[in-house]
Protein backbone atom coordinates (compact mmCIF):
# COMPACT_ATOMS: atom_id res chain seq x y z
CA UNK A 1 0.00 0.00 0.00
CA UNK A 2 2.77 2.37 0.95
CA UNK A 3 4.57 1.72 -2.33
CA UNK A 4 1.38 2.49 -4.22
CA UNK A 5 0.97 5.81 -2.41
CA UNK A 6 4.57 6.63 -3.21
CA UNK A 7 4.03 5.89 -6.90
CA UNK A 8 0.81 7.90 -7.11
CA UNK A 9 2.54 10.79 -5.38
CA UNK A 10 5.25 10.78 -8.00
CA UNK A 11 2.82 10.53 -10.90
CA UNK A 12 0.96 13.56 -9.56
CA UNK A 13 4.21 15.43 -9.18
CA UNK A 14 5.27 14.54 -12.73
CA UNK A 15 1.92 15.70 -14.04
CA UNK A 16 2.14 19.03 -12.23
CA UNK A 17 5.62 19.59 -13.63
CA UNK A 18 4.48 18.78 -17.16
CA UNK A 19 1.58 21.15 -16.78
CA UNK A 20 3.71 23.97 -15.41
CA UNK A 21 6.47 23.52 -17.99
CA UNK A 22 3.92 23.39 -20.77
CA UNK A 23 2.44 26.70 -19.65
CA UNK A 24 5.95 28.12 -19.37
CA UNK A 25 6.79 26.91 -22.89
CA UNK A 26 3.60 28.47 -24.14
CA UNK A 27 4.52 31.79 -22.56
CA UNK A 28 8.12 31.63 -23.79
CA UNK A 29 7.10 31.39 -27.45
CA UNK A 30 4.87 34.40 -26.97
CA UNK A 31 7.68 36.23 -25.22
CA UNK A 32 9.78 36.10 -28.35
CA UNK A 33 9.74 39.25 -30.40
CA UNK A 34 7.57 38.96 -33.51
CA UNK A 35 4.89 36.64 -34.81
CA UNK A 36 4.82 33.29 -32.90
CA UNK A 37 4.11 31.46 -36.17
CA UNK A 38 7.35 32.80 -37.63
CA UNK A 39 9.19 31.96 -34.41
CA UNK A 40 7.91 28.39 -34.51
CA UNK A 41 8.69 28.00 -38.18
CA UNK A 42 12.25 28.97 -37.37
CA UNK A 43 14.33 29.35 -40.46
CA UNK A 44 12.30 26.73 -42.23
CA UNK A 45 10.09 28.48 -44.75
CA UNK A 46 9.31 31.49 -42.59
CA UNK A 47 8.63 33.43 -45.76
CA UNK A 48 6.08 30.96 -47.10
CA UNK A 49 2.60 32.36 -46.32
CA UNK A 50 0.84 29.01 -46.84
CA UNK A 51 3.20 27.31 -44.41
CA UNK A 52 2.66 30.01 -41.79
CA UNK A 53 -1.11 29.75 -42.23
CA UNK A 54 -0.79 26.03 -41.57
CA UNK A 55 1.07 26.66 -38.29
CA UNK A 56 -1.46 29.29 -37.28
CA UNK A 57 -4.33 26.87 -37.70
CA UNK A 58 -2.41 23.99 -36.03
CA UNK A 59 -1.81 26.06 -32.93
CA UNK A 60 -4.98 28.15 -33.17
CA UNK A 61 -2.87 31.28 -33.23
CA UNK A 62 -5.79 33.31 -34.58
CA UNK A 63 -7.99 32.41 -31.60
CA UNK A 64 -8.01 33.93 -28.05
CA UNK A 65 -4.96 33.27 -25.86
CA UNK A 66 -6.74 30.93 -23.45
CA UNK A 67 -8.06 28.79 -26.29
CA UNK A 68 -4.51 28.61 -27.64
CA UNK A 69 -3.27 27.45 -24.25
CA UNK A 70 -6.02 24.83 -24.15
CA UNK A 71 -5.05 23.50 -27.58
CA UNK A 72 -1.40 23.47 -26.58
CA UNK A 73 -2.07 21.60 -23.33
CA UNK A 74 -4.27 19.05 -25.07
CA UNK A 75 -1.55 18.44 -27.65
CA UNK A 76 1.14 17.94 -25.02
CA UNK A 77 -0.98 15.59 -22.92
CA UNK A 78 -1.64 13.45 -25.99
CA UNK A 79 2.14 13.34 -26.55
CA UNK A 80 1.91 15.62 -29.54
CA UNK A 81 4.76 18.12 -29.25
CA UNK A 82 4.29 19.31 -32.79
CA UNK A 83 6.59 19.10 -35.76
CA UNK A 84 10.20 19.97 -36.08
CA UNK A 85 9.64 22.07 -39.18
CA UNK A 86 13.33 22.03 -39.90
CA UNK A 87 13.58 18.24 -39.94
CA UNK A 88 10.05 17.51 -41.16
CA UNK A 89 9.55 15.03 -38.32
CA UNK A 90 7.46 14.76 -35.17
CA UNK A 91 9.34 16.18 -32.19
CA UNK A 92 8.30 13.27 -29.96
CA UNK A 93 9.87 10.73 -32.32
CA UNK A 94 13.14 12.63 -32.45
CA UNK A 95 13.25 12.92 -28.65
CA UNK A 96 12.58 9.25 -27.98
CA UNK A 97 15.20 8.25 -30.50
CA UNK A 98 17.81 10.23 -28.56
CA UNK A 99 16.62 9.51 -25.02
CA UNK A 100 18.56 6.24 -24.41
CA UNK A 101 21.92 7.84 -25.21
CA UNK A 102 21.30 10.70 -22.80
CA UNK A 103 20.01 8.41 -20.06
CA UNK A 104 23.13 6.27 -20.44
CA UNK A 105 25.39 9.32 -20.22
CA UNK A 106 23.67 11.13 -17.34
CA UNK A 107 23.03 7.90 -15.46
CA UNK A 108 26.69 6.89 -15.68
CA UNK A 109 27.87 10.34 -14.64
CA UNK A 110 25.41 10.37 -11.73
CA UNK A 111 26.62 6.97 -10.58
CA UNK A 112 30.27 7.91 -11.03
CA UNK A 113 29.78 11.04 -8.93
CA UNK A 114 27.74 9.29 -6.24
CA UNK A 115 30.34 6.55 -5.83
CA UNK A 116 33.58 8.49 -6.03
CA UNK A 117 32.45 11.73 -4.39
CA UNK A 118 31.41 10.25 -1.03
CA UNK A 119 34.28 7.72 -1.17
CA UNK A 120 36.99 10.34 -1.60
CA UNK A 121 35.18 12.68 0.76
CA UNK A 122 35.17 9.97 3.42
CA UNK A 123 38.90 9.40 2.93
CA UNK A 124 39.52 13.13 3.27
CA UNK A 125 37.44 13.28 6.46
CA UNK A 126 39.15 10.24 8.01
CA UNK A 127 42.55 11.71 7.19
CA UNK A 128 41.44 15.24 8.10
CA UNK A 129 44.23 17.80 8.31
CA UNK A 130 46.84 15.52 6.72
CA UNK A 131 48.59 15.80 3.35
CA UNK A 132 46.03 13.42 1.76
CA UNK A 133 43.19 15.58 2.96
CA UNK A 134 44.77 18.79 1.67
CA UNK A 135 45.63 17.26 -1.70
CA UNK A 136 42.10 15.93 -2.15
CA UNK A 137 40.57 19.25 -1.17
CA UNK A 138 42.77 21.22 -3.57
CA UNK A 139 41.82 18.93 -6.45
CA UNK A 140 38.15 19.16 -5.49
CA UNK A 141 38.38 22.94 -5.29
CA UNK A 142 39.93 22.98 -8.77
CA UNK A 143 37.25 20.86 -10.44
CA UNK A 144 34.59 22.80 -8.56
CA UNK A 145 35.75 25.88 -10.48
CA UNK A 146 36.17 24.32 -13.93
CA UNK A 147 33.72 24.72 -16.79
CA UNK A 148 32.50 21.27 -17.84
CA UNK A 149 33.17 21.82 -21.54
CA UNK A 150 36.78 22.75 -20.82
CA UNK A 151 37.37 19.58 -18.81
CA UNK A 152 36.00 17.65 -21.78
CA UNK A 153 38.34 19.32 -24.24
CA UNK A 154 41.35 18.73 -21.98
CA UNK A 155 40.46 15.07 -21.49
CA UNK A 156 40.21 14.65 -25.26
CA UNK A 157 43.59 16.35 -25.72
CA UNK A 158 45.25 14.08 -23.17
CA UNK A 159 43.52 10.71 -23.55
CA UNK A 160 42.60 10.75 -27.24
CA UNK A 161 45.02 13.04 -29.04
CA UNK A 162 48.19 12.50 -26.99
CA UNK A 163 47.82 9.00 -25.57
CA UNK A 164 45.35 7.60 -28.07
CA UNK A 165 43.66 5.45 -25.42
CA UNK A 166 40.05 6.45 -25.83
CA UNK A 167 37.88 7.62 -28.73
CA UNK A 168 37.35 11.41 -28.78
CA UNK A 169 33.78 11.53 -30.09
CA UNK A 170 30.60 9.64 -30.89
CA UNK A 171 28.95 6.71 -29.18
CA UNK A 172 30.16 3.95 -31.47
CA UNK A 173 33.06 3.34 -33.81
CA UNK A 174 32.53 4.56 -37.35
CA UNK A 175 33.03 1.05 -38.67
CA UNK A 176 30.36 -1.02 -36.89
CA UNK A 177 31.70 -3.74 -34.60
CA UNK A 178 30.35 -7.29 -34.94
CA UNK A 179 28.74 -9.11 -32.01
CA UNK A 180 26.72 -7.91 -29.01
CA UNK A 181 29.56 -8.11 -26.50
CA UNK A 182 32.01 -6.31 -28.75
CA UNK A 183 29.44 -3.63 -29.49
CA UNK A 184 28.71 -3.12 -25.77
CA UNK A 185 32.41 -2.80 -25.04
CA UNK A 186 32.74 -0.37 -27.93
CA UNK A 187 29.97 1.83 -26.48
CA UNK A 188 31.53 1.63 -23.00
CA UNK A 189 34.87 2.78 -24.39
CA UNK A 190 33.13 5.76 -25.98
CA UNK A 191 31.21 6.42 -22.77
CA UNK A 192 34.19 6.82 -20.41
CA UNK A 193 35.38 10.30 -21.36
CA UNK A 194 31.98 12.00 -21.61
CA UNK A 195 30.69 10.39 -18.41
CA UNK A 196 33.84 11.34 -16.47
CA UNK A 197 33.66 14.87 -17.88
CA UNK A 198 30.07 15.31 -16.77
CA UNK A 199 30.65 13.61 -13.44
CA UNK A 200 33.88 15.27 -12.27
CA UNK A 201 32.23 18.53 -11.24
CA UNK A 202 29.77 16.62 -9.07
CA UNK A 203 32.50 14.38 -7.65
CA UNK A 204 34.14 17.62 -6.49
CA UNK A 205 30.89 18.84 -4.96
CA UNK A 206 30.24 15.55 -3.14
CA UNK A 207 33.81 15.25 -1.89
CA UNK A 208 33.45 18.62 -0.20
CA UNK A 209 29.95 17.91 1.10
CA UNK A 210 30.84 14.45 2.43
CA UNK A 211 33.91 15.71 4.21
CA UNK A 212 32.02 18.58 5.87
CA UNK A 213 29.09 16.36 6.74
CA UNK A 214 31.27 13.58 8.18
CA UNK A 215 33.36 15.91 10.31
CA UNK A 216 30.13 17.32 11.68
CA UNK A 217 28.61 13.90 12.37
CA UNK A 218 31.82 12.68 14.03
CA UNK A 219 31.21 14.98 16.98
CA UNK A 220 27.80 13.46 17.79
CA UNK A 221 27.26 11.39 20.94
CA UNK A 222 26.33 8.09 19.31
CA UNK A 223 29.69 8.09 17.52
CA UNK A 224 31.47 8.49 20.85
CA UNK A 225 29.41 5.58 22.16
CA UNK A 226 30.46 3.44 19.21
CA UNK A 227 34.10 4.23 19.91
CA UNK A 228 33.66 3.59 23.63
CA UNK A 229 32.23 0.16 22.79
CA UNK A 230 35.64 -0.56 21.31
CA UNK A 231 34.62 -0.79 17.66
CA UNK A 232 37.53 -0.52 15.23
CA UNK A 233 37.94 2.96 13.76
CA UNK A 234 37.09 1.97 10.17
CA UNK A 235 33.80 0.48 11.32
CA UNK A 236 32.92 3.61 13.22
CA UNK A 237 33.75 5.63 10.12
CA UNK A 238 31.77 3.54 7.65
CA UNK A 239 28.84 2.10 9.58
CA UNK A 240 28.23 4.98 11.95
CA UNK A 241 29.50 8.24 10.56
CA UNK A 242 29.32 7.77 6.80
CA UNK A 243 25.84 6.29 6.79
CA UNK A 244 24.37 9.31 8.56
CA UNK A 245 26.57 11.75 6.70
CA UNK A 246 25.34 10.39 3.37
CA UNK A 247 21.76 11.57 3.85
CA UNK A 248 22.32 15.26 3.04
CA UNK A 249 24.46 14.21 0.09
CA UNK A 250 21.77 12.03 -1.45
CA UNK A 251 19.20 14.78 -0.89
CA UNK A 252 21.51 17.24 -2.56
CA UNK A 253 22.21 14.88 -5.45
CA UNK A 254 18.49 14.84 -6.17
CA UNK A 255 18.38 18.62 -6.24
CA UNK A 256 21.35 18.64 -8.59
CA UNK A 257 19.75 16.31 -11.14
CA UNK A 258 18.54 19.29 -13.13
CA UNK A 259 22.07 20.60 -13.46
CA UNK A 260 23.22 17.19 -14.62
CA UNK A 261 20.73 17.16 -17.48
CA UNK A 262 21.75 20.71 -18.38
CA UNK A 263 25.41 19.74 -18.30
CA UNK A 264 24.62 16.95 -20.73
CA UNK A 265 23.94 19.55 -23.44
CA UNK A 266 27.46 20.87 -23.17
CA UNK A 267 29.11 17.45 -22.85
CA UNK A 268 27.15 15.96 -25.74
CA UNK A 269 28.16 18.93 -27.85
CA UNK A 270 31.84 18.49 -27.02
CA UNK A 271 31.85 14.72 -27.59
CA UNK A 272 29.29 14.58 -30.43
CA UNK A 273 27.30 12.20 -28.22
CA UNK A 274 24.05 11.42 -30.07
CA UNK A 275 21.66 12.31 -27.24
CA UNK A 276 19.09 14.95 -26.42
CA UNK A 277 21.68 17.56 -25.54
CA UNK A 278 23.27 17.32 -28.95
CA UNK A 279 19.78 17.54 -30.42
CA UNK A 280 19.17 20.71 -28.40
CA UNK A 281 22.41 22.21 -29.68
CA UNK A 282 21.43 21.51 -33.28
CA UNK A 283 17.92 22.83 -32.66
CA UNK A 284 19.45 25.97 -31.23
CA UNK A 285 21.35 26.64 -34.40
CA UNK A 286 18.47 25.92 -36.68
CA UNK A 287 16.24 28.10 -34.48
CA UNK A 288 13.98 25.06 -34.23
CA UNK A 289 11.99 26.23 -31.20
CA UNK A 290 9.43 23.44 -31.24
CA UNK A 291 12.21 20.93 -30.87
CA UNK A 292 13.97 23.02 -28.23
CA UNK A 293 10.78 23.31 -26.19
CA UNK A 294 10.36 19.55 -26.46
CA UNK A 295 13.87 19.05 -25.09
CA UNK A 296 13.02 21.38 -22.22
CA UNK A 297 9.89 19.43 -21.34
CA UNK A 298 11.61 16.06 -21.57
CA UNK A 299 14.58 17.16 -19.48
CA UNK A 300 12.23 18.45 -16.79
CA UNK A 301 10.64 15.00 -16.76
CA UNK A 302 14.09 13.48 -16.42
CA UNK A 303 14.68 15.67 -13.39
CA UNK A 304 11.46 14.38 -11.85
CA UNK A 305 12.66 10.85 -12.60
CA UNK A 306 16.07 11.46 -11.00
CA UNK A 307 14.29 12.94 -7.99
CA UNK A 308 12.30 9.75 -7.69
CA UNK A 309 15.45 7.62 -7.83
CA UNK A 310 16.94 9.85 -5.14
CA UNK A 311 13.89 9.38 -2.97
CA UNK A 312 14.17 5.61 -3.28
CA UNK A 313 17.88 5.78 -2.40
CA UNK A 314 17.05 7.89 0.65
CA UNK A 315 14.55 5.30 1.83
CA UNK A 316 17.20 2.60 1.50
CA UNK A 317 19.77 4.67 3.40
CA UNK A 318 17.36 5.71 6.12
CA UNK A 319 14.42 3.35 6.72
CA UNK A 320 12.79 5.92 8.99
CA UNK A 321 11.93 8.08 5.97
CA UNK A 322 9.69 5.46 4.40
CA UNK A 323 7.83 4.61 7.58
CA UNK A 324 7.18 8.22 8.45
CA UNK A 325 4.92 8.64 5.43
Amino acid sequence: MRQLGFLVGWLVKALVVVLAITILNFLLIRLAPGDPAIVMAGEAGAADERFLAQIRSDFGLDRPLLVQLGIYLKNVLTLDLGQSYRNQRAVVDMLFERLPATLLLTGSAYLFALVFGPLLGAIAAMKARTVYDSALMVVALFFYATPIFWVGLLLILVFSVQLGWLPPFGMQSLIPVEGTLARTLDILRHLILPAVTLGLFYVAVYVRLTRASMLETATLDYVKTARAKGLPEWRVATAHILRTALLPIITFAGLQAGHLVGGAIVVETVFAWPGIGRLAFDALFQRDYNLLLGVFLLSALMVVFFNMVTDILLRVADPRIGSRA
Partner: protein, 279 residues
Amino acid sequence: MSFLKRFAENRGALLGLVILAAIVFVALAAPVLSPTDPWATQGRPLLPPGSDFVLGTDMLGRDVLAGIIHGARISLWIGVLSTVVAVVIGVSIGALAGFFGGWVDDVLVRVVEFFQTIPSFIFAILLVAILTPGLTSIVVAIAVVTWPPIARLARSEFMSLRSREFVEAAVLSGVSRGRIMLAEVLPNAVSPLIVMGSLMIATAILTESALSFLGLGDPNRISWGYMIGAARTVFRQAWWLSVFPGLAIVLTVLAINLVGEGLNDALNPHLKGRIGLER
Protein backbone atom coordinates in the same frame (compact mmCIF):
# COMPACT_ATOMS: atom_id res chain seq x y z
CA MET B 1 37.80 38.22 16.94
CA SER B 2 37.01 40.90 14.40
CA PHE B 3 35.79 40.11 10.89
CA LEU B 4 38.96 41.39 9.22
CA LYS B 5 41.21 39.39 11.48
CA ARG B 6 39.29 36.19 10.90
CA PHE B 7 39.34 36.76 7.15
CA ALA B 8 43.07 37.57 7.14
CA GLU B 9 43.87 34.37 9.02
CA ASN B 10 42.37 32.32 6.20
CA ARG B 11 45.24 31.77 3.78
CA GLY B 12 43.02 30.45 1.00
CA ALA B 13 40.77 33.48 1.19
CA LEU B 14 43.74 35.85 1.06
CA LEU B 15 45.15 34.04 -1.96
CA GLY B 16 41.74 34.27 -3.63
CA LEU B 17 41.56 37.96 -2.86
CA VAL B 18 44.95 38.62 -4.43
CA ILE B 19 44.07 36.69 -7.61
CA LEU B 20 40.68 38.35 -7.82
CA ALA B 21 42.19 41.80 -7.35
CA ALA B 22 44.61 41.09 -10.20
CA ILE B 23 41.78 39.97 -12.49
CA VAL B 24 39.68 43.00 -11.62
CA PHE B 25 42.67 45.19 -12.35
CA VAL B 26 43.19 43.54 -15.75
CA ALA B 27 39.51 44.00 -16.56
CA LEU B 28 39.50 47.66 -15.60
CA ALA B 29 42.79 48.42 -17.33
CA ALA B 30 42.06 46.37 -20.47
CA PRO B 31 41.95 49.36 -22.85
CA VAL B 32 45.38 50.42 -21.58
CA LEU B 33 46.97 46.96 -21.30
CA SER B 34 45.78 45.92 -24.74
CA PRO B 35 44.81 49.01 -26.70
CA THR B 36 44.11 47.21 -29.99
CA ASP B 37 40.76 45.73 -30.86
CA PRO B 38 40.66 42.08 -29.66
CA TRP B 39 38.59 41.21 -32.76
CA ALA B 40 41.23 42.54 -35.17
CA THR B 41 43.67 40.33 -37.05
CA GLN B 42 47.16 40.91 -35.65
CA GLY B 43 49.38 38.30 -37.27
CA ARG B 44 49.46 34.98 -39.07
CA PRO B 45 46.71 32.56 -38.05
CA LEU B 46 47.34 29.75 -35.51
CA LEU B 47 50.75 30.92 -34.30
CA PRO B 48 51.74 28.88 -31.23
CA PRO B 49 52.50 30.63 -27.93
CA GLY B 50 55.82 32.38 -27.71
CA SER B 51 57.21 34.21 -30.75
CA ASP B 52 55.50 37.60 -31.21
CA PHE B 53 52.38 36.60 -29.35
CA VAL B 54 52.82 35.36 -25.80
CA LEU B 55 49.71 33.16 -25.93
CA GLY B 56 49.61 32.67 -29.70
CA THR B 57 46.98 33.62 -32.29
CA ASP B 58 43.69 32.03 -33.32
CA MET B 59 42.32 30.84 -36.68
CA LEU B 60 41.86 34.43 -37.84
CA GLY B 61 45.21 35.66 -36.54
CA ARG B 62 43.70 37.41 -33.52
CA ASP B 63 45.86 37.80 -30.42
CA VAL B 64 44.76 35.28 -27.74
CA LEU B 65 46.20 37.37 -24.90
CA ALA B 66 44.22 40.43 -26.03
CA GLY B 67 41.07 38.29 -26.10
CA ILE B 68 41.71 37.05 -22.57
CA ILE B 69 42.38 40.57 -21.26
CA HIS B 70 39.21 41.96 -22.80
CA GLY B 71 37.24 38.84 -21.94
CA ALA B 72 37.82 39.51 -18.24
CA ARG B 73 35.55 42.54 -18.53
CA ILE B 74 32.54 40.65 -19.81
CA SER B 75 32.94 37.71 -17.43
CA LEU B 76 33.13 39.84 -14.31
CA TRP B 77 30.48 42.27 -15.50
CA ILE B 78 27.93 39.58 -16.33
CA GLY B 79 28.79 37.71 -13.12
CA VAL B 80 28.17 40.74 -10.92
CA LEU B 81 25.18 42.12 -12.81
CA SER B 82 23.25 38.88 -13.02
CA THR B 83 23.94 38.14 -9.35
CA VAL B 84 22.62 41.56 -8.33
CA VAL B 85 19.43 40.94 -10.30
CA ALA B 86 19.09 37.43 -8.86
CA VAL B 87 19.63 38.69 -5.31
CA VAL B 88 16.99 41.39 -5.75
CA ILE B 89 14.44 38.87 -7.06
CA GLY B 90 15.39 36.21 -4.51
CA VAL B 91 15.43 38.49 -1.48
CA SER B 92 12.11 40.10 -2.42
CA ILE B 93 10.35 36.78 -2.80
CA GLY B 94 12.06 35.14 0.16
CA ALA B 95 11.39 38.16 2.38
CA LEU B 96 7.70 38.23 1.52
CA ALA B 97 7.35 34.50 2.12
CA GLY B 98 9.30 34.47 5.37
CA PHE B 99 7.84 37.64 6.81
CA PHE B 100 4.17 37.10 6.04
CA GLY B 101 4.00 33.32 6.34
CA GLY B 102 0.59 31.69 5.86
CA TRP B 103 -0.79 31.36 2.34
CA VAL B 104 1.68 33.89 0.94
CA ASP B 105 4.46 31.60 2.10
CA ASP B 106 2.73 28.48 0.73
CA VAL B 107 2.29 29.98 -2.72
CA LEU B 108 5.79 31.45 -2.93
CA VAL B 109 7.43 28.25 -1.71
CA ARG B 110 5.64 26.33 -4.47
CA VAL B 111 6.95 28.84 -7.01
CA VAL B 112 10.50 28.48 -5.68
CA GLU B 113 10.24 24.69 -5.77
CA PHE B 114 9.01 24.75 -9.33
CA PHE B 115 11.91 26.92 -10.43
CA GLN B 116 14.27 24.48 -8.72
CA THR B 117 12.81 21.54 -10.64
CA ILE B 118 13.28 23.23 -14.01
CA PRO B 119 16.58 22.18 -15.60
CA SER B 120 18.16 25.57 -15.15
CA PHE B 121 20.77 25.55 -17.89
CA ILE B 122 18.31 24.48 -20.58
CA PHE B 123 15.92 27.15 -19.37
CA ALA B 124 18.71 29.71 -19.62
CA ILE B 125 19.51 28.56 -23.17
CA LEU B 126 15.86 28.90 -24.15
CA LEU B 127 15.58 32.36 -22.66
CA VAL B 128 18.72 33.63 -24.37
CA ALA B 129 17.79 32.04 -27.70
CA ILE B 130 14.27 33.41 -27.67
CA LEU B 131 15.20 36.88 -26.42
CA THR B 132 18.10 36.91 -28.93
CA PRO B 133 21.64 36.71 -27.53
CA GLY B 134 23.02 39.86 -25.96
CA LEU B 135 24.19 41.26 -22.66
CA THR B 136 20.67 41.90 -21.36
CA SER B 137 19.23 38.53 -22.32
CA ILE B 138 22.20 36.69 -20.78
CA VAL B 139 21.93 38.63 -17.52
CA VAL B 140 18.17 38.08 -17.39
CA ALA B 141 18.53 34.37 -18.15
CA ILE B 142 21.21 33.76 -15.52
CA ALA B 143 19.27 35.75 -12.92
CA VAL B 144 16.02 33.92 -13.66
CA VAL B 145 17.64 30.51 -13.12
CA THR B 146 19.76 31.36 -10.06
CA TRP B 147 17.46 33.25 -7.68
CA PRO B 148 15.73 30.28 -5.93
CA PRO B 149 18.52 29.42 -3.43
CA ILE B 150 18.73 33.09 -2.42
CA ALA B 151 14.96 33.14 -1.92
CA ARG B 152 15.13 30.07 0.33
CA LEU B 153 17.91 31.59 2.39
CA ALA B 154 16.16 34.96 2.69
CA ARG B 155 12.92 33.22 3.62
CA SER B 156 14.49 31.29 6.48
CA GLU B 157 16.32 34.37 7.75
CA PHE B 158 13.19 36.53 7.64
CA MET B 159 11.15 33.80 9.24
CA SER B 160 13.44 33.48 12.24
CA LEU B 161 13.92 37.23 12.63
CA ARG B 162 10.21 38.04 12.39
CA SER B 163 9.47 36.74 15.88
CA ARG B 164 12.35 38.58 17.55
CA GLU B 165 11.59 41.31 20.13
CA PHE B 166 12.97 44.24 18.15
CA VAL B 167 10.70 43.40 15.22
CA GLU B 168 7.66 43.03 17.46
CA ALA B 169 8.50 46.31 19.12
CA ALA B 170 8.57 47.97 15.72
CA VAL B 171 5.22 46.40 14.80
CA LEU B 172 3.66 47.63 18.08
CA SER B 173 4.94 51.14 17.59
CA GLY B 174 3.08 51.29 14.29
CA VAL B 175 5.96 51.24 11.83
CA SER B 176 4.79 50.14 8.37
CA ARG B 177 5.56 46.57 7.39
CA GLY B 178 7.56 47.56 4.34
CA ARG B 179 9.75 49.74 6.52
CA ILE B 180 10.20 47.00 9.09
CA MET B 181 11.30 44.54 6.43
CA LEU B 182 13.76 46.95 4.86
CA ALA B 183 15.10 48.81 7.87
CA GLU B 184 14.82 46.30 10.71
CA VAL B 185 14.92 42.75 9.34
CA LEU B 186 17.03 43.03 6.19
CA PRO B 187 20.14 44.52 7.84
CA ASN B 188 20.18 41.58 10.25
CA ALA B 189 19.85 39.03 7.47
CA VAL B 190 22.48 40.56 5.27
CA SER B 191 25.63 38.64 6.10
CA PRO B 192 24.59 35.15 4.94
CA LEU B 193 23.04 36.79 1.88
CA ILE B 194 26.35 38.47 1.07
CA VAL B 195 28.16 35.16 1.32
CA MET B 196 25.75 33.35 -0.95
CA GLY B 197 25.70 36.28 -3.36
CA SER B 198 29.48 36.31 -3.65
CA LEU B 199 29.54 32.59 -4.41
CA MET B 200 26.76 33.03 -6.97
CA ILE B 201 29.00 35.33 -8.98
CA ALA B 202 31.24 32.32 -9.57
CA THR B 203 28.31 30.18 -10.73
CA ALA B 204 27.12 33.00 -12.99
CA ILE B 205 30.54 33.25 -14.62
CA LEU B 206 30.54 29.50 -15.28
CA THR B 207 27.05 29.70 -16.76
CA GLU B 208 27.98 32.63 -18.97
CA SER B 209 31.03 30.78 -20.23
CA ALA B 210 28.92 27.74 -21.12
CA LEU B 211 26.34 29.89 -22.93
CA SER B 212 29.08 31.65 -24.89
CA PHE B 213 30.75 28.33 -25.63
CA LEU B 214 27.50 27.17 -27.25
CA GLY B 215 27.47 30.34 -29.34
CA LEU B 216 24.90 32.21 -27.24
CA GLY B 217 27.20 34.97 -26.07
CA ASP B 218 26.89 38.65 -26.79
CA PRO B 219 28.10 38.82 -30.42
CA ASN B 220 29.68 42.23 -29.89
CA ARG B 221 31.84 41.42 -26.89
CA ILE B 222 34.65 38.91 -26.79
CA SER B 223 34.40 36.42 -23.93
CA TRP B 224 36.38 33.45 -22.67
CA GLY B 225 33.63 30.95 -23.37
CA TYR B 226 33.24 32.28 -26.90
CA MET B 227 36.98 31.95 -27.56
CA ILE B 228 36.95 28.27 -26.54
CA GLY B 229 33.78 27.53 -28.50
CA ALA B 230 34.99 29.29 -31.64
CA ALA B 231 38.28 27.34 -31.58
CA ARG B 232 36.59 23.98 -31.11
CA THR B 233 37.10 22.88 -34.70
CA VAL B 234 40.87 23.33 -34.48
CA PHE B 235 41.49 22.56 -30.82
CA ARG B 236 43.39 19.36 -31.55
CA GLN B 237 46.02 21.24 -33.55
CA ALA B 238 45.93 24.48 -31.57
CA TRP B 239 45.59 23.53 -27.90
CA TRP B 240 46.45 27.04 -26.73
CA LEU B 241 43.17 28.40 -28.07
CA SER B 242 41.15 26.44 -25.53
CA VAL B 243 43.66 25.94 -22.71
CA PHE B 244 44.42 29.61 -21.90
CA PRO B 245 40.90 31.06 -21.90
CA GLY B 246 39.84 28.02 -19.85
CA LEU B 247 42.56 28.71 -17.31
CA ALA B 248 41.32 32.28 -17.08
CA ILE B 249 37.83 31.03 -16.24
CA VAL B 250 39.14 28.53 -13.66
CA LEU B 251 41.34 31.12 -11.94
CA THR B 252 38.52 33.65 -11.73
CA VAL B 253 35.93 31.19 -10.45
CA LEU B 254 38.42 29.65 -8.02
CA ALA B 255 39.40 33.07 -6.64
CA ILE B 256 35.76 34.06 -6.14
CA ASN B 257 34.99 30.76 -4.43
CA LEU B 258 37.94 31.17 -2.08
CA VAL B 259 36.95 34.72 -1.20
CA GLY B 260 33.31 33.71 -0.75
CA GLU B 261 34.19 30.86 1.56
CA GLY B 262 36.56 33.12 3.49
CA LEU B 263 33.72 35.62 3.89
CA ASN B 264 31.46 32.84 5.09
CA ASP B 265 33.90 31.62 7.72
CA ALA B 266 34.58 35.17 8.87
CA LEU B 267 31.01 36.49 8.87
CA ASN B 268 29.10 33.41 10.00
CA PRO B 269 31.48 31.29 12.07
CA HIS B 270 28.55 29.11 13.18
CA LEU B 271 27.76 28.23 9.56
CA LYS B 272 31.32 27.34 8.67
CA GLY B 273 31.48 25.61 5.32
CA ARG B 274 27.75 25.18 4.92
CA ILE B 275 26.23 27.86 2.74
CA GLY B 276 28.46 27.67 -0.27
CA LEU B 277 27.83 24.10 -1.23
CA GLU B 278 24.10 24.30 -1.36
CA ARG B 279 23.84 26.42 -4.44
